[in-house]
């Protein structure tokens, strides 16, 4: 409960931000929110589901490409609804995850370090594939992806401007965040914890460990797919970098620095790392990446729970007393 209160405060602060930070930074922050959504999906599957996925961006990229293909009218020229695109992006990413998850986890499944290496290899394969899939733009990707078009009761509104786009995306992110939090606080969350820590015992109680792993893998993929779909409407293009290995590992860094076992910390980890990057990379230039790599290392060694999760947990515990 306390946790949600802090989350509410943080979302309220985000909602109040645009007038304070101005147009340019509002645009930047919108992008960071979408990265935050990717971080939420990774925290869900890794921190809660116990599945270390080194290729989370593949779901992001799949969602992005599906969104681009649909809203550009490349599938059905007459149906270019943003809603359809978003739903298809989520469903497509989730279905891909379901198939991949079944392949990886069924029977004597793969876990731990092996899983990390295999997901890394799959992300590399997908990136190469997209680079050479000329029907989908190949290396250059798909350009001129239209912005999100909101339609209610016949009226329609295209999200071209920064501020309305920011609020639309903030609402989506908030809904996903609080929805996922509620899900994790339910009996499902308990099963997920049990599945992560004692899969054998859970299996002996009659639960299907495979089904739980598949559900969290697909759910997380759907969220990542949604993030990817939102992202391409912001930038106006979908490229192989969305699906690849670099974004996957960046997401890992955000989530590890923030705190993988806490959705809020992972979300803030993405936003703060990106913000720091845009400020500090100007100051430090090429040294920034060096600093980031070292900070990541130190945070893994000294604060395995995360740089942000540690103080955030203190804060919530302090209020409980």
């Amino acid at each position: 409960m306390r946790n949600s209160l802090i989350a509410l405060l943080i979302f309220a602060a985000l909602a109040a931000a645009p007038p304070v930070i101005g147009g340019y930074w509002t645009g930047q922050l919108t992008g960071y929110l979408v990265y935050g959504l990717l971080a939420i999906s990774l925290s869900l599957v890794w921190g809660y589901g116990g599945i270390l996925c080194f290729g989370q961006a593949m779901f992001f990229g799949i969602g992005g490409y599906i969104m681009a293909v649909i809203t550009k009218g490349m599938v059905l020229p007459d149906i270019t609804s943003s809603y359809l695109g978003l739903i298809a992006a989520m469903a497509g990413a989730a279905l891909f995850a379901l198939a991949l998850g079944y392949f990886l986890f069924a029977g004597r499944g793969i876990s731990g370090a092996y899983l990390a290496i295999i997901t890394l290899a799959i992300a590399l394969v997908l990136e190469r594939l997209m680079n050479n899939w000329y029907g989908l733009g190949g290396y250059n990707g798909l350009l001129n992806v239209p912005p999100i078009k909101l339609t209610f009761f016949g009226a329609s509104f295209e999200l071209w401007d920064r501020v309305p786009t920011f609020y639309a995306i903030l609402i989506v992110v908030a809904v996903i965040f609080f929805g996922t939090t509620a899900l994790l606080n339910s009996a499902y969350g308990l099963r997920l914890t049990a599945c992560r820590t004692h899969p054998d015992r859970l299996a002996s109680l009659g639960y299907s460990v495979l089904n739980i792993r598949l559900s969290v893998f697909s759910l997380s993929a759907a969220i990542a797919g949604l993030a990817g779909a939102l992202f391409v409407t912001l930038d106006g293009f979908a490229s192989p970098t969305l699906i690849g290995f670099t974004l996957s590992t960046e997401a890992l860094i955000w989530v590890a620095i923030g705190g993988k076992e806490m959705l809020l910390a992972a979300f803030l980890g993405a936003i703060l790392t990106r913000t720091a990057e845009s400020w500090l990379s100007e100051i430090f230039g090429d040294y920034w990446i060096l600093i980031l790599g070292i900070a990541f290392m130190i945070s893994v060694v000294l604060l395995p729970k995360g740089l942000l999760a540690t103080p955030l947990e203190k804060l919530t515990e302090g209020k409980r007393r």
Binding site: L52, F103, L104, R108, I110, S111, G112, A113, Y114, A116, I117, I118, L120, A121, I122, L124, V125, R128, L129, N131, N132, F245, T249, L252, I253, A256, D286, Y287, I289, L290, L292, G293, I294, A295, F296, M297, I298, V300, V301, P304
Partner: protein, 286 residues
């Protein structure tokens, strides 16, 4: 025949280098359970030591001696400052060494620039036998790699160090109760693994593009080789390296390199999924 022979030799030289890189990874993974994601960067730094040595006017052989020394010393630092503190948290070693790989890559970008460097061939002759001709350096490279691989196997199978190392791999606590300093074994195995990567990097520097991003291209195939061959026995690396390196390069003769790479990755993933203990079998199936 004379057309296929150079292809076969190219494939063999690639496989040998891949095995050399994978051996270092395997020693560290098999012994400490540590996944060293920075191994590719250590390979890359080996190549850059060669670049720097040639830049300083040193002969090729000096670079070949310096590279394993410099990279091995770096390995010693990494073990002391980083790995030692987290080797009981295997998944965290993946992340921490990933951070390290980012930092090392950027360190090289800052000192040498992001562009690719060239290393001059120490031997630019070709061996010609009738209709067949082949660059001499590549033949030397193959011979040296084969000797190094053989030497590593000898070290782990025939020597006292190897006996202790295999004991620590099989039963670390029992080895300690017999008076063996397991921490010291971990440290020196890590150093040997990294020095091998550095030496491999220096050896191939003249025939590949040397740039700060080159590590990943060897890291992932290296890991796949270990998992495909089986992490239990050292010989698994030979089989895995031959499958991952050999199949990919042979396929590239008939289909595009990208299609070949995708095919071989998928093949490797399938083998790992269907036979998690690897082709030769191994103990650490997880």
């Amino acid at each position: 025949m004379s057309e296929l022979l150079p292809v076969f030799l190219d494939v063999t030289s690639y496989v040998l280098i891949l095995v050399l890189v994978a051996l270092g990874l395997m020693i560290v993974f098999g012994m400490m359970g540590v996944i060293n994601m920075a191994h590719g960067e250590l390979f890359m730094i080996g190549a850059f030591v060669m670049v720097a040595a040639q830049g300083a006017g040193l002969p090729f052989l000096a670079g070949l001696v310096l590279a394993p020394l410099v990279v091995g010393f770096l390995g010693l630092l990494i073990e002391t400052a980083l790995i030692r503190h987290i080797y009981h948290r295997p998944l965290d070693t993946i992340l921490a060494t990933w951070g390290l790989s980012i930092a090392l890559k950027q360190l090289i970008v800052l000192s040498f620039g992001p562009e690719s460097q060239s290393v001059t061939l120490p031997l630019d002759g070709t061996l010609t036998l009738g209709a067949f001709s082949y660059p001499l350096y590549r033949l030397v490279l193959m011979a040296v790699s084969a000797v190094l691989i053989g030497g590593t196997f000898w070290l782990f199978i025939r020597t006292d160090f190897g006996l202790m190392a295999r004991a620590v791999i099989a039963r670390p606590t029992t080895a300690a109760t017999l008076g063996i300093d397991t921490r010291r074994m971990y440290r020196w195995s890590f150093v040997i693994g990294t020095a091998l990567a550095g030496l491999a990097g220096a050896l191939v520097a003249p025939i590949i593009s040397v740039d700060p991003q080159m590590g990943l291209g060897y890291l992932v195939p290296g890991f796949l080789s270990i998992l495909v061959g089986g992490a239990g026995a050292l010989a698994g690396v030979l089989v895995g390296g031959a499958v991952v390196g050999g199949v990919g390069n042979l396929l590239a003769v008939w289909i595009s390199p990208v299609a070949a790479l995708i095919t071989v990755y998928i093949l490797a993933i399938l083998i790992i999924r269907l036979k998690p203990e690897g082709i030769l079998g191994g103990r650490r199936a997880k």
